[in-house]
Amino acid sequence: MAGKPYRVPKGLARERLIDRLRPLRFSFDGKSMSGFHGDTLASALLANGRRLMGRSFKYHRPRSAVGIGAEEMNALVGVGDGARHEPNLRATQVEIYDGLTAVSQNRWPNLDFDLGGLSNEFSRLFPAGFYYKTFMWPQSLWKGLYEPLIRRAAGLGRAARERDPDTYEHIHVHCDVLVAGGGIAGLAAANAAAASGKRVILADENASFGGSCDLSGETIEGLPPSDWVEERVRALKAAENVHVLNRTTVAGHFHHNHVLMVERVGDHDPGLLAKGAPRQRLWKVRAQTLIMATGAIERPISFANNDRPGIMLATAVRGYIDRYGVAPGEECVIFTNNDNAYLTAIALKSSGVKVRPIVDVRARAESAIIDQARGAGIEIVNGAVVSGVETSRGGASIDAVKISPYRSGKGRIVSETRVACDFLAVSGGFNPAVHLWCHNGGKIRFDDRLYSFVPDRHDAAIRAVGAANGKMDSATCVEEGYAAGQATAKASKTKKSKVHGKAAAGQQSEAPLEPIWFVPATGKYNEGNKHFVDFQNDVTAADLELAQREGYESVELTKRYTTLGMATDQGKTSNVNGLGILAEATGLSIPEIGYTTFRPPYTPITFGTVAGPNRGPLFLPVRQTAIFDWHVEHGADFEPVGLWRRPYCYPKGSEDRASAVRREILTVRNRVGLLDASTLGKIEIKGPDAGEFLDRIYTNMFSTLAIGRARYGLMLNELGFLIDDGVTVRLGEDHFLMHTTSGGADRIAAWLEEWLQTEWMTLKVFVTPVTEQWAQFAVAGPDARKVMQKLDGDMDFSAEAFPFMSMKQGTLASYPVRVYRISFSGELSFEVATPANFGRGLWDAIIEAGREFGLDVYGTEALHILRAEKGFIVIGDETDGTVTPHDVGLSWAVSKKKRDFLGKRSLSQPYLAAHGRKQLVGLYTEDPQEVLPDGAHAVERVEPKPPMRTIGHVTSSYFSPTLNRSIAMALIDNGLKRMGETLEFPLEKGIVKAKVVDPVFFDKEGARQNG
């Protein structure tokens, strides 16, 4: 497209934000362009005569920037190269820097010639609900054909494929007052709150403060707006109790004034990123009071083809001229229903842009600003509307607009006048930006002066001020800001807030607005005319009316059916217009129609910011035992166990996992193995009532345990289901050490505390978790005793002096240790615990001592198979939260003597005492080499096809090297009565048959562990 000199001559506009002395270069769709420091991508593109910035989502219509800030719905671009590419950014908010690269989106092969634009030609085929109606059938085509096709055609930008090279972080901050929005109301509020010594945070999404006051044409407390803003910002930055943040969007408001803000730290300056700055920072704020000073968003008016490039919001047009010295064209028509757009006419005129008539919907309107426009020689046409535009170059260029007389409610346009122009400034009034107000349950009410919603009731400590509160003149904005800021200081003990002079009356009385939502066109909707409501999702007035005719009466349903307001802009410019059109279509008032939910975030947040530092190795904490480095050095193949990383096995040379596990098991069964069992939960329990307490916690008896002896215990929840198991040792008369499962360590410690604190408050017991204090290893196998004896120590390891299920404290290889003769492998086994910082030293000493006995390390998989061979259950494998001790053959561990323990009463509830529950059994597959998959279901009878009634499932299944055959445990209906039966497991590859056997597969008498 040929570029025209759209930057107005120097001196005609204030150009408040750009610095003509700092030119820079950037590229758009590969074409190099120039701009100035301070430009946004949108202002720079317009300055380069580049109006076409993207193609619309559904119809691929050519689009340009409509707005100037967060409200922008059309000009979505991708910014950055390669891994740094970020799609779907609003060009109106992208600050350009030297070397910035940007690309347009949703076009192919290129923006100016786009094949997808054909969908516009066939657009009468794509009404609201089109996808629902058309692609319903046949269902089989959805995944393979329809969805990929639609996804390719309708779309936004593409995410970068490479790993993001930048860093992101989170920070928590607490304050007395958070002011969202740094316009004049926000600045006044922050100043007043800060004066009382309160901790204040002021955040604004833009690079500079002041909101849109620079475009108001008013003075503030006697100063030009920009001067007033500068003075306020300087004062806030100089204060010790204020934190001022620009480029920071207040994205969401949550319970108890929890507020999320996104700070774009380095997006505007690659130099900062190079110095290690995070690209973006997520602020998690807890504010005593939130002051919402988020301003207002201008709304467009729906008329035929109102999406054509060059049709912009009136305030935006004024902003481009005033801030960037950019005129979107040479000849402008203004279309308005309110006074504010007259300011745009005046600004254009004084910048040397021709203003064709102001087309004012209102039949009569008189005010000072209107007089001023008239005085400047600007033609005003009252009681008229813009009913359409004439375009060329595929809709990308405006040649003229059609102006028609208008009387509200009088139906179709009959006569039109053509006025040549190349751009159009539109104002349909202003919507307070109430998004934050609504995120956390705030109510809004319809204001029939603004014809929009304003904040109403809220349960949180939040106040709305200024334009966000429906106050559209500067003086009231400032006044409300001060009042809100001072109100936060009321409880303060510090010196009272300085009294600010009442805002000077720079206020001009305005003529009232006349609501207009929809301008009919000559001809019907689909004769090339589209009246857009939601530009980003290509939702038209016709779509909304169709939804009404099809019975979508609820506004929430209409929203979902038409996708109104569901695009990335969340309907900032479209929601109220949509409601207005629905109101007209139904004959209801807007309050009767209601409104849809405003959801956070206010503008989209990058995934990088959401993740913050929690990515890569920091995504989830990984717990390491004291032996972790040894495991790494010795080639451990790790598996996650909760947050721990434990060695699954230690493959040697070219060994695969299965061979390594097999070797490790045989080492334990035939010689001696060493396991890092440090993750096991350990809890010290002490007090005069400790025995009584354990009797209530465990199903079996612990108060009778002898000092120095250990006992296996089961824990139930109050429902009667197993929640943990382990060995508890009596260290002294009133002192116990409980072992829990690795995964249960924290949970069980909390469980014990809960019962002591909330139910058995009179029991004198203390509970201190000590898991992390100890490194703990199992030395297991027929030669375990020899290894222990070989280590230099002061304990007698003989069978007589150190029997099974007992413990000793002493010294081993110079390290202080606790040694427990307990076994989870079924072998002769000593578990040795030493303070964690000695762990590695003792580990090395054990390996050294075991060398001559062929000691080798084993991992968790060997551990699991060893225990399965012995028929020991694992909480979480054999149990799933619905399993009782009786179900898994552990009735022997359930005391019949105790009157009460946790879960006891529930065990006798009818549904748990009933016969026919699933019971734990062992399984031998007919083919000993066949290993059943975990979770495989046995069925009552194999049918040709499902459904089949299942009678239970496999809970653990392995190939046992010890027995040289497969073994499995399963929970089977009435399992104990089925001993010897053959069960059938229908699997994908065929039916596997297995015989029900005793779940203790090896050394049933326990001779090995007791030896």
Partner: protein, 202 residues
């Protein structure tokens, strides 16, 4: 008798002595011993028995600590304290405390190896803490001596404000999480990511 070998939680980290490009100084305090004491202040004899060994009264105000010389006592709960002392004296201190508390309902455990202690020192220590926890370390209530248990970088932790001028905070995390917490600190304390909350802005 063979020589005992000692491996602190962060001994394996090559950057343990200090990493470059940070806005604060970090170091592992592996010479501290820790004794966990539980008892009821309402039990006659408990507090005096502890004082006999400790040499001073246990702090009774929530989230405070008391120090004398090389020994600090940190309030953890209404019935729980941590005694921080030179590591080599911990076993003897533990034994003496157990003896002093004989017959009094209490639980004293030497947990010198259960946690890793990292000392944070510098201008933006408080902001660095705030990057990992929702507890507010820039609050004026976080005076020297403050003890705060918290969730830091997703893990259970304890912070002890050792001094405020200069800002020194000891961060305690359970030993198995030390590597994670250290990595998180290195990532968030980078000079390029420095944040100074409130105060004069340029």
């Amino acid at each position: 008798m063979a020589e005992r070998r000692f491996h602190s939680a962060l001994q394996h980290r090559a950057d343990r002595a200090g990493a470059k490009g940070l806005s604060i100084a970090l170091k592992e305090m592996d010479d501290r011993g820790v004794i966990d004491v539980r008892g009821l202040p309402t039990d006659a004899g408990f507090l005096p028995a502890v004082k006999d060994v400790l040499g001073f009264d246990l702090p009774m105000d929530p989230r405070t600590s008391r120090s004398r010389g090389e020994i600090s006592a940190l309030w953890l709960s209404t019935d729980q304290w941590l005694i921080i002392l030179p590591r080599e004296t911990a076993p003897d201190f533990h034994a003496r405390l157990v003896k002093s508390l004989a017959g009094i309902h209490s639980l004293v455990v030497d947990v010198s190896d259960a946690r890793a202690i990292v000392r944070l020192e510098g201008d933006t220590v408080r902001e660095t803490m705030n990057k990992g926890t929702s507890a507010d370390f820039t609050d004026s209530g976080m005076k020297a001596g403050t003890v705060r248990r918290l969730l830091y970088a997703q893990v259970a932790a304890l912070a002890h404000v050792v001094s405020t001028d200069p800002d020194v905070i000891d961060l305690y995390v359970f030993r198995s999480y030390a590597d994670h917490a250290w990595s998180f600190l290195l990532a968030t304390a980078r000079e390029g990511a420095r944040v100074k909350l409130f105060g004069k802005q340029g």
